[in-house]
Symmetry: D2
Amino acid sequence: MSGHPAAPAWQVSQWFNASAPLDLIALRGRVVVLHAFQMLCPGCVLHGVPQAERIHQQFAGEGVAVVGLHTVFEHHEAMQPVSLQAFLHEFRVTHPVAVDAPVPGRRIPATMQAYGMQGTPTLVLIDRAGRIRRQHFGRLDDLTVGAEVIRLVCEAS
Amino acid sequence: MSGHPAAPAWQVSQWFNASAPLDLIALRGRVVVLHAFQMLCPGCVLHGVPQAERIHQQFAGEGVAVVGLHTVFEHHEAMQPVSLQAFLHEFRVTHPVAVDAPVPGRRIPATMQAYGMQGTPTLVLIDRAGRIRRQHFGRLDDLTVGAEVIRLVCEAS
Amino acid sequence: MSGHPAAPAWQVSQWFNASAPLDLIALRGRVVVLHAFQMLCPGCVLHGVPQAERIHQQFAGEGVAVVGLHTVFEHHEAMQPVSLQAFLHEFRVTHPVAVDAPVPGRRIPATMQAYGMQGTPTLVLIDRAGRIRRQHFGRLDDLTVGAEVIRLVCEAS
Amino acid sequence: MSGHPAAPAWQVSQWFNASAPLDLIALRGRVVVLHAFQMLCPGCVLHGVPQAERIHQQFAGEGVAVVGLHTVFEHHEAMQPVSLQAFLHEFRVTHPVAVDAPVPGRRIPATMQAYGMQGTPTLVLIDRAGRIRRQHFGRLDDLTVGAEVIRLVCEAS
């Protein structure tokens, strides 16, 4: 189980669907599904975001925390938080969503940079000990995702 | 063929995917498919906008003009033209899209009001003589739409 | 409108969903949609047969006759009429379906041979005068099919 | 972990996609996914069978055995083994499939009766110790199935 990198801390400028900020320290002991997306990325809207919501609906009761991360790296003016908020409302996203903190003078926001993400959607599976066990850019089918999430749930904490 | 109301003029604040403004007078003699949508309306993003694009791709060559109309009546701040522009780019919308002109002090924009639309998506089929032959709020399946568009195409101009 | 071949007569060994045999002479004056399929052909089961049923449901009222043609050219023992009957019942096919007449010593049944069909599914559009206006092997999308059927409906009989 | 019933032995008249008969004794130590279906049941053809094949493709390498069970309880003449064989070939089913043994004078075949199945599709998850851990009539989504299969894989054998 060694050799897996620790998941970098999240750098967040704003939270939606969360009564208080979330962080990996507080989530230690839970399996964390981090879903990086952009509200105007078709693969995210059509596949990634609904899948993240399904994971949340189905596994929240067994110690799985699903967190959306809005990693805007293009069309920055088009995807400001006021637009994201309406998107989350209209698409009935109920899991917590963080706005990845912009970095002045850079196109790529801070957390996206720290994780070395290549684009959106990206799914990151983080184990109970806070280590990255899988990071995938693009689509993963539900059968795979259900299996991989539960594999981490089944590990001793 | 009498008894069909004339389609009201469009009141537009901005055009995308058009080298010059379009209007119903100039389109007289063509069948016009007007698709009213909002970029953050799930039924529009998942169904209406791709269908409008399919109609454009398939029937543009036979005198059918497809025009999108961005009728923002909720979350106005979230769906400004800068956001719409990125949406059209990312979702590969190539047909002309008009921004329905906002009316100061009113929630509903001008053209949406003039047509008495109940929401989005709304599909309006306008015949060669500029008359509204069908106005439908909600989803219409492709078989129906293909049939109704071509029925108007087949009418003598 | 000249130059379109006359649709060959159907050679049928058995009918389902029909109180009496149908033929092209009796259907003259109507637009006929002939859908050739096999009950164990995935493209037929998943796409062609449900589409033929949708055409039937939607356009039967405007002089369109949809006829399924079970053209068994492989796995003959597997797709005998008793199996087809159960298939039509279970998949809720309500339009008339003909069993293409087997030809002793030949793999390909009689009507399939007469039309020169390459495989299943094949959609044949026959105009009011009994001429083949389109014959397509493979999938056609609903937008195209709705348009092409109505184009024939709109022609003077 | 106690309290789960032992999975009844399979009563099989014929195997497809298997070089030798399979049985639960020989599969002890593996997680078994038993998928009961009928080749003319739409829910099976459209959902259950492709899902069973996906489970086979994805999890065969980690000690999961997927077995299809053709439990014909209606239209018996329509779904004889010769038809099933063509179905499996055409729909590219590669996992082993057993024909549930008919019982003379009874509509319901032997294994279906022994498991008390209510219809098709039915998915049965059997743990490494040969006990039924889940039996579900109808559709289960991929996220649930992926999770439940891997939960059993993760159990000590």
